[in-house]
Symmetry: C2
Subunit: 340 residues, 2 copies
Amino acid sequence: MAQKIKLSTIAESLGLSTATVSLALRDSPLVASDTREKIKEQARLLGYIYNRRAASLRTSRSGIIGVVVHDIMNPFYGEILKAIESELDRSRQTFILSNHYDSVEKQRTFIETLLQLGGDGVIMSPAIGSPPEDLMLAEDNGMPAILIARTMDGLALPTYRGDDTYGISLATNHLIGLGHRVIAMVGGTDQTSTGRDRYQGYVNALRKAGIAVDPNLRIPGPRTKQGGFEAAVNFLSLPQKPTAAVCWNDLVAIGLMNGISRAGLVPGRDISVTGYDDLEEASIATPALTTVSNGQAEVGRLAARALLDKLAGSHEPDGLHLIKPEMRIRQSTGPIHHRD
Amino acid sequence: MAQKIKLSTIAESLGLSTATVSLALRDSPLVASDTREKIKEQARLLGYIYNRRAASLRTSRSGIIGVVVHDIMNPFYGEILKAIESELDRSRQTFILSNHYDSVEKQRTFIETLLQLGGDGVIMSPAIGSPPEDLMLAEDNGMPAILIARTMDGLALPTYRGDDTYGISLATNHLIGLGHRVIAMVGGTDQTSTGRDRYQGYVNALRKAGIAVDPNLRIPGPRTKQGGFEAAVNFLSLPQKPTAAVCWNDLVAIGLMNGISRAGLVPGRDISVTGYDDLEEASIATPALTTVSNGQAEVGRLAARALLDKLAGSHEPDGLHLIKPEMRIRQSTGPIHHRD
DNA sequence: CTGAAAGCGCTTACAG
DNA sequence: CTGAAAGCGCTTACAG
């Protein structure tokens, strides 16, 4: 590596001022077009690398946007991130990604780091138990924040997520329509808005159909494939002998189906199973999973757009934006089939 | 948000110089301990946020490390990233993540952005068709680079990956040992070192066992679950009627097994299937997938360590570091079972 | 143990 | 259309 090339190196080599070089490289109409071309050519020749830290120190815009979610390895978040990425790419923003694994500590460290780097904004799916002041840390320091996937009550932050109560009722009603009466709910936690909403939607649907709600038919906890797989044992030994399971999400549903298969039963025939999210994987599972679309691409796209709009100065209405879920009927659900 | 708090705000409020405040906040022994405590307390009270851009402009260390891989939604990379993350977390480095989706363009943009941000180093799994000069762009500008998962010939960059040729021969030999003679290879591409190495390992193992290599038994292309699922049709209609498939990776294997199941055959009994990578998901697939561990956690950990060591000044030996794969025998492979 | 001053590499009024 | 100069918020010699 030769000497570090900076604006002044280019300026001196051309007998111009740094001001002119700076303007030219950013395509300012203030610079004569042949001067501009000469400067750009010289920058290329010298292998000039723009120092964003210096620029951002001066302008206080860094071009950095932070995104923090529970776990990027979870395809649900992966699909959201993909949409955010393609939206941010278009406006040449760099994005910094982090998992918080539901650690409030890790989440706060991330927000602080982002503030230190002069981040322009942040999109987050809040960790379980987040203190409101942690989530407001960004806004309080002039960095706009947008929430996705989970709601935090009492926070005036724009939020984009699916309508969980409604969505899970679609799945539950679908099963009821197929004749199922003993329907378990597998997975999820009351510690998130999503978890509470989905359980509530399931309860509502049963009540509306005149089916008594049996709390023992709830197997809370699992949120992953592994979790669903392990829950199969509990599920299959429930004394009420459910003929169907409404799962917390697709991962749990696929895991549960694997567990059911291992036990020699056929999901979709012996036991009906619904997922939630409609991950890319849902349609190629065996059997293909009946599930509820949860608008990941939409959530990511809208959240990114809202943030970019905010940065551009237009004031989006704050508040909750619910994406409407839709039923996707496939092979994992069918008419009631009595075990025993 | 009140007035922006900076070092000088704290200094003035305490009647000290910025130099003293700066040193105190970084726990310098040069500052008297009660002065230091007073300063730290004041910083906390004022809600001071350290401006890393300003600091890094001065010190030319940013605390940022870039990581770019093909696709973070692919659990193979996800598992590597997790290991990198936990290693970097320990040394308080921020990491910036990006997908290149095998676009050389996107990869170069990422490296340039990282240079502009003053990144301290970069870990990359090179995009297909990367020009060597793109990969050297980082090093040429003083930013150390480490390669993972894929090799680029003729580049003097430290590289960490699994031993593909050896690993795939383990899988192939396992099938041969079970009596299989017509073994297809499903997925992968000759455009990556990994793809070439794995095909070669498969060919070597067959030859060593005295089995003629039939190029028509290769179904190149698939690298995802979806791809494996779709390849099932081709696989099942091969005129040679293979009794087993060596798959490019676990995703392809799981997809292929789903496709085989849909066709009414039982993977693990009618058709033996091996995967590659030993993803977390492999053990809960149905049937549980026989596969080859590919050391994702090891690759991530070692690559991150090597980079941190390099940043700390110790010169790691460059060159290729191969992680030794191991066979994981589960339910998706069994003795030969003739179709028809 | 503490302070005054220069400088990291940009951009932005302000002049001309 | 171009230039001289100040300043973004830190850290680092150098003095004392």
